[in-house]
Symmetry: C2
Subunit: 340 residues, 2 copies
Amino acid sequence: MGGMRGAIIHAAGDVRFEERQDPTIQEPTDAVIRTVAACVCGSDLWRYRGIAEVKKPTPIGHEYVGIVEAVGAEVTTVKVGDFVVGGFTYSDNTCACCRRGAHANCLNGGGYDGCQAEKIRIPQADGTLLATPGQPDEDLVPHLLALSDVMCTGWHAAVSGGVGRGTTVAVVGDGAVGLSAVLASVQLGAERVIAMSRHADRQKIAKEFGATDIVAERGEDGVKKIREMTDGIGADVVLECVGTEDARVQAVEAVRPGGMVGVVGVPHGGVDVEQMFWKNKGIHGGVAPVRAYLEQLLQLVWERRIQPGKVFDLELPLSEVAEAYKAMDERRATKVLLRP
Amino acid sequence: MGGMRGAIIHAAGDVRFEERQDPTIQEPTDAVIRTVAACVCGSDLWRYRGIAEVKKPTPIGHEYVGIVEAVGAEVTTVKVGDFVVGGFTYSDNTCACCRRGAHANCLNGGGYDGCQAEKIRIPQADGTLLATPGQPDEDLVPHLLALSDVMCTGWHAAVSGGVGRGTTVAVVGDGAVGLSAVLASVQLGAERVIAMSRHADRQKIAKEFGATDIVAERGEDGVKKIREMTDGIGADVVLECVGTEDARVQAVEAVRPGGMVGVVGVPHGGVDVEQMFWKNKGIHGGVAPVRAYLEQLLQLVWERRIQPGKVFDLELPLSEVAEAYKAMDERRATKVLLRP
């Protein structure tokens, strides 16, 4: 068996690029891909920062695009040589949940780790991967990579919040997911998209993605500003793209009576649903069902109608993955793209 | 000043039909109506049963249809002699919230009590009342009365849950609101509507309203049954029309991953939103914005396409209002219609 190299997290603050065994086909529904690009997710930082525990050295990463190297006997929709995008969870795309678009909760699905590596084993290849119509031009690679998680997660926030034609949206969080949620809201027909951001570089991307307004204030001041901009009542939909209690409180406060919070940040702390009830405010969201959105978004990227890869503001060789984590931890980078 | 009679709640279990002063125009936006029919709401029973406190003798009731007797100088959309339906909250129908359909949270709105009476003062008459196209035939009166609260509340549950063409819906609660939610779901295009009910008489109304299935089991057994009927995953949308913790838990458990709970029963107790997040389950709803739905539903009643008044299974003279409360408290009646 050959070897390859990939990122292993050993402890908080300790990510190493190390030799690992080559992945192989283990189930007839598997594929193995050679990575063309991978990246670091905000959620990878939970372990890097010691918020989530690292019990033992663990391969890390869950976003990728690549070229199919091998497929199991039952795989029919992708073949060796295809350029593929896949979601950060795997799914069979046929179960009762997938048939209703809830691929993140696929009855035969799950999550994986270890995708910041030269090669990756993909379970349920048919239900997880989508091949591009041909080999992509080099400039499309970051945009395709963004579909693996961050763009579909922003899209899910907007879909869960019910963003549509004419909606006024406020986005809490100016990380890569928040910026993607801005892009998603614009694509879904929102009339007004208010990005909450204090950082000039991220405000710039938000504007490029179509944000109509920027609010630099946070917390209560931010809520006050949003209300001032919306006839005193709040936005129709607020997208919570952070996952802290402060952000959630801010989102619930900034949405108008009758409105919806679309949530893709894990809701830590309790939500006062009785208070929300009296204000007719709702909340919906969760882990994004990437495969549900992949065909539509891949087409938008392929036709160069959206450029979600703009969220990558640093590119490094995969071998420098440790520096990628450091740069994101220290907020020197929003999101780092890695090339083997 | 003349006198009239109406229901006064003095304490838990103690509703009396007593002399009250005639209501008069106090604001130029008021109307006074002569009641044609009123009814008792499940929420009136909170005080009757001692769940909510009665601090002093209070006029009670918030559902009505009637004939306009007087209007303030600024009222333009209804006139003396009109037959009108109004919601259980008043609203101006022009504020920022109302313009977005959130009439229950009208910036100039509020609730009222004392509608189980011969005459009623209606604040914000233009934004609260809707006149019928002419004097209604006698058989339409119960169906028009149902629009004052119960039918619009069931409709709001279905709208909040996102019921549409092809949806599989389960309704928790077979009271008048739950039955109305069945009717609403059918009207909104649901493919399958599962009514959860143990009572033969209510099952019958649910079927007449278009329920495709009845589940008599409750609690965990009820959830198990719903899952068995929905490919093992739960209904797309569950409508919570009770307002107890048990009902809410049952609703959240019975909805599929990615699905929505539409809620019109006050959500007592906490909701584990983090658990809901991992299952991609959402919740939305609250007090119904009656005026937002009134034109559409009035038309459906007027054209005899829906008969929401079937939820009334007992009719009494208004003077016997005490017996109406007793009958509902003892579950001898689902909902009682009262005539002055």
